[in-house]
């Protein structure tokens, strides 16, 4: 079981799931380095974390699509908190499948934010944790990455690629004692899904945040949130391709 995360870099800190997680970490007294695009929003999240009990909160407004900045960003976070023992990657975009189908530029944007930027951040983070032989990387992927479907395969591909990258990274870092937790939420009621019609499958960001931290505390490798998605995705993955390709999913 990895030790509880005490000095955590949170990427995409203004996302609903990250905010809910930040509250839980703050209540534990963790120190936090919060990164998001919008400085005003970030400030509100930072104040909330401070008030709820974080030992230390620093924040920085950065566009994570600017990959060139990542290495220095990780360095600044580690300096500010006096080291890092955890990172949460929570930034991502849903994109618009229909738009992406017609334009590679839009497809690339989804891949850049959801996959390339995560890889670019995980590279210095993994090397840092590997050298220290400790640390926890918690990365939000998605159930959508488990199988490509016509309704959102661009987003799905970005998350599927991320899940595979994390598998390999976990395999590499296992002997260094670094935990890599792949988080696969299903539908979550957040601004990202504001335009989707809500149904019983939707979970709250708080539910996902609790499950995510529980998985990190227990050193789990991969977690579906809520847990019933493991079964749903097992069934979806089990459908033979000749049948699957004719389905409207």
């Amino acid at each position: 079981m990895p030790p509880m995360m005490k000095k955590v870099l949170v990427l995409g800190a203004t996302s609903a799931i990250a905010q809910a997680t930040v509250r839980l970490l703050a209540a534990r007294g963790a120190s936090l380095y919060l990164v998001g695009r919008n400085a005003e929003r970030l400030e509100a999240v930072a104040k909330d974390a401070r008030t709820r009990g974080s030992a230390k909160v620093e924040s920085e407004a950065v566009d994570l699509d600017d990959l060139a900045q990542h290495e220095a960003l990780v360095e600044r976070a580690a300096t500010a908190l006096g080291g890092l023992d955890g990172a949460l990657l929570a930034h991502g975009i849903l994109g618009d499948q229909k738009v992406a189908e017609r334009s590679y530029t839009d497809t690339e944007k989804v891949l850049r934010t959801n996959f390339l930027s995560a890889v670019s951040l995980l590279t210095p983070l993994a090397n840092r944790f590997e050298a220290r032989k400790a640390g926890t990387l918690v990365v939000i992927s998605s159930v959508a990455g488990d199988r490509g479907r016509q309704s959102n395969y661009v987003y799905g591909a970005s998350k599927g690629a991320l899940s595979v990258f994390l598998q390999g990274l976990r395999n590499r870092l296992a002997r260094s004692g670094v935990a890599v937790v792949t988080v696969k939420p299903g539908f979550v009621d957040t601004p990202m899904t504001a335009d989707l019609k809500k149904n019983a499958l939707f979970a709250s960001p708080e539910t996902v945040a609790r499950g995510m931290l529980r998985a990190a505390d227990k050193g789990r490798n991969e977690v579906y949130l809520p847990g019933f998605w493991r079964l749903i995705m097992f069934i979806i993955r089990s459908i033979p391709e000749p049948l699957f390709k004719r389905m409207k999913l």
Partner: protein, 446 residues
């Protein structure tokens, strides 16, 4: 998409309503492209139609729920307006602070507590909630922002406290908490035989007890009309509890019970209401008692049962809360209201009586003022209920009293105009893009 949001009484039932979530205080208001008016919606704990906006859009604030600062030395907490009183209690009680004023449920938002200028068991000493809100920010549909306090934008401050969400959206507020050295309340429970018994208890308790309230047996008639139980208490002194405050003092209840579905209409009938009231009164066996009680069951007895409003079934229920002058005429009106309710064949399930103090309310439209306040609730039985409420409204008016907008779904436009003389000045501060079902009703527009 039609919103499912309702008020706590679930009457009137509104369907043609949209909702938009307000997530960030720094954003401008999401004025809907489809047009229509806006109204902030916090936790939906107003009973009638003051938190509803039929045909318009509700700006939901459940995600506008961040703390922006807390100074344990001064006891001032700054938070966004969607933060609930429950969240504040979780943050501050173990640090030795408590809400300055709290209504009978902690599941209300700060914005709602200000917009309705809510009151609690300590009104006779502390006044309304708004008195303890030194500053807040108000955002209007034209994009303007104002920090409001008794000295900065004082007109906007007085219009917005008790302003039913109509002057704009409160984004954040400061709340001045009160010191608390013990999460337990030293409570006395004293039975009284009739209204006179209540009045003498209320008079003798006003000075020495921070918290007073009475439960009235809604079926008492004749000699025992207005009988009930008087509760009074203070936060227990620190030496009562040798242990320092800790997080373990937080309520462990977290809501174990819930009403899982709408009860059928017949579940609450004259017999079950009678049985409940009889048992409640006789549980005390006619004797006074004293004991330590945690603040949670003391202030929030009904919060232990989630969605208790479902016991009234699908048709919902209507609340009635009046304040009448603390005079012979006011006492006679209170007696008359209790009597009419008891004789109506659909007695109130839970009847609460309290004396408001003379601490002035800061809002132009605030409800509380010196007098006797009586709250009753009635299952919605259609016209019979509306007729009874109209009678009670008339008795209130004749006695020089008035009704509480946050609990109302029936008061007439004429009475509202007579009861809230500041409404014309207030109307000039109403955001042109904002409205509510209540506001249109009391202005005779639907």
């Amino acid at each position: 998409m039609g919103s499912e949001l309702q008020s706590w009484g679930r009457y009137p039932h509104v369907t043609e309503q949209r909702e938009k979530s307000v997530t960030w205080a720094s954003d401008s208001l999401p004025v809907p492209a489809e047009g229509g008016s806006l109204l902030p919606y916090g936790q939906g704990r107003s009973y009638g139609d003051s938190c509803l906006n039929a045909g318009g859009t509700l700006l939901t604030t459940a995600r506008l729920d961040r703390f922006l600062g807390f100074d344990p030395a001064t006891g001032v907490v700054r938070c966004e307006s969607g933060v609930t009183l429950d969240a504040i209690l979780r943050l501050v009680t173990w640090q030795g602070w408590f809400l300055p004023v709290t209504p009978g449920t902690k599941f209300v938002s700060v914005g709602g507590a200000i917009a309705n200028d809510v009151h609690g068991k300590n009104h006779h000493q502390a006044g309304t909630f708004g008195r303890h809100v030194p500053r807040f920010e108000l955002v209007r549909s034209d994009g303007s922002r104002r920090v409001c306090s008794p000295t900065e934008n004082p007109d906007w401050y007085a219009a917005t406290i008790g302003g039913l969400g109509l002057t704009g959206l409160i984004t954040w507020a400061d709340i001045h908490l009160r010191r608390m050295s013990n999460p337990y309340i030293l409570q006395e429970t004293i039975p009284f035989d009739n209204l006179d018994g209540f009045l003498s208890l209320a008079r003798e308790s006003e000075k020495d007890f921070d918290f007073t309230v009475a439960w009235v047996d809604s079926l008492g008639r004749g000699q025992s009309l207005g009988r009930g139980l008087f509760y009074r208490g203070n936060h227990a002194p620190p030496q009562f509890d040798a242990l320092p405050l800790s997080r373990s003092h937080l309520s462990k209840r977290g809501g174990g019970l819930a009403v899982p579905f709408d009860m059928p209409g017949f579940a609450l009938n004259r017999l079950s209401v009678a049985a409940f009231n009889w048992l409640y009164y006789h549980r005390q066996r006619g004797r006074a008692s004293e004991g330590l009680i945690h603040y949670d069951p003391f202030f929030y007895p009904l919060d232990g049962v989630h969605r208790w409003n479902r016991i009234y079934g699908r048709r919902g229920f209507l609340q009635f809360q009046c304040v009448v002058p603390f005079t012979d005429a006011g006492v006679a009106a209170t007696r008359d209201i209790l009597d009419r309710s008891a004789r109506s064949g659909m007695p109130s399930f839970l009847t609460v009586l309290k004396v408001f103090g003379d601490v002035p309310s800061p809002g132009w439209m605030s409800f509380p003022r010196r007098g006797l306040t009586l709250a009753l609730d009635f299952a919605n039985k259609g016209e019979r209920t509306y007729t009874l409420l109209a009678e009670l409204e008339r008795v209130t008016r004749d006695a020089g009293g008035r009704l509480y907008p946050a609990k109302d779904s029936r008061m007439s436009a004429e009475n509202f105009a007579a009861w809230y003389p500041e409404r014309e000045r207030f109307a000039r501060y109403v955001d042109p893009a904002f409205s509510s079902s209540f506001w249109r009703r009391v202005n005779g527009a639907g």
